[in-house]
Assembly symmetry: C2
Homo-oligomer: 183 residues x 2
Amino acid sequence: MAKKDVQRGKALEKIQAHLLETGLAETGVRQLAAAANISDRMLLYYFEDKTDVLAAALSSISAKVVMTLSMAVPSDAKMSPAELITTAAALTRGDAMGPEMRLFVECVAAAARGEAPYEAIAKQIMEGFLIWVDAHLDIEDEGERRATAAMLLALIDGIALLEICTDEARGDLAVRGATTWLD
Amino acid sequence: MAKKDVQRGKALEKIQAHLLETGLAETGVRQLAAAANISDRMLLYYFEDKTDVLAAALSSISAKVVMTLSMAVPSDAKMSPAELITTAAALTRGDAMGPEMRLFVECVAAAARGEAPYEAIAKQIMEGFLIWVDAHLDIEDEGERRATAAMLLALIDGIALLEICTDEARGDLAVRGATTWLD
DNA sequence: TCCATTTTGTAGCACTTGCTACATGTATAC
DNA sequence: GTATACATGTAGCAAGTGCTACAAAATGGA
């Protein structure tokens, strides 16, 4: 029994790396199994079914994202919207979390069409982000803070979207625009 | 020859409606054909292949989106960022353009994984939006206007994303946050 | 009318999909 | 050692994929 769990864990890690590399394009059981260096037969021995594999992998990635965010900034740090956007942009853009953001967008899209594990995952990441933003906003009034947090979250996600289908320069531009206006 | 084109046009319109209803979830040739009330054999008689069908349908939808945007606002109207966000939110959210926005997000996600017709379409819609935003921004300095436009575009897209995977209330909140800060 | 072209249906191919039945190997408990 | 549970390979199924070959029908021009 122990061995199964260990092997399952190893497979899961390789599959996470695979998803971060290739997105949701290659998520067939045979492809996932190949990424984990095992047979599809074994993949479905370690996991209930394909949905179970994806849910586990994506959930783990989402947890790491939230962890990364909270580790990167002292938990009691409070910032202005402009500072927060700058910080968030530095974290989410570029190589560090770029793949995660792309994967996240694909999850949202998959969630939009109601596919099985994606809806929950997309929501999970979104909420995690929102809590992080809210927690570091230097705004007393709760109503205003929540509205600002929602706006900043949308902005961060939107910049990711913008970069996916145009280029990095557009992202830079958007960040610059945000910092000037949100000061 | 004429008949083929006419039938092709009819099929195309039904397929557009189908895509707006169901997103990119049901894009098999048989499913697209069913949506157009023809046999798959005929669909591939009217169009080169599946990619051709989707490219034609999505391209047409994207053109309509751009048209809707430009029709909704006088071409010489200039607005502050806050006014523009309010206007854009009113247009893109809700029943009027909601389906289009959802479809757009799915296109971006598909583009992220490099699938055939989606990359071009996503870019096309994004650029159309950007031009529209830029054209109605009441900002003299070109550099500042372009940065602000990119930021607003990201914000609009981000709000769409936010609404897809949480709910409408979050979108409201984000719009409120945006209008207070961008004034 | 006859011929050529366009339009349409039937059937199917080669491939991928998620998943499973069955058998065999291997380790562990007694 | 033998029984029992776990682990893993081989093979394959039923359904779905995009697409096409072939032939019959409809259409139009001479």
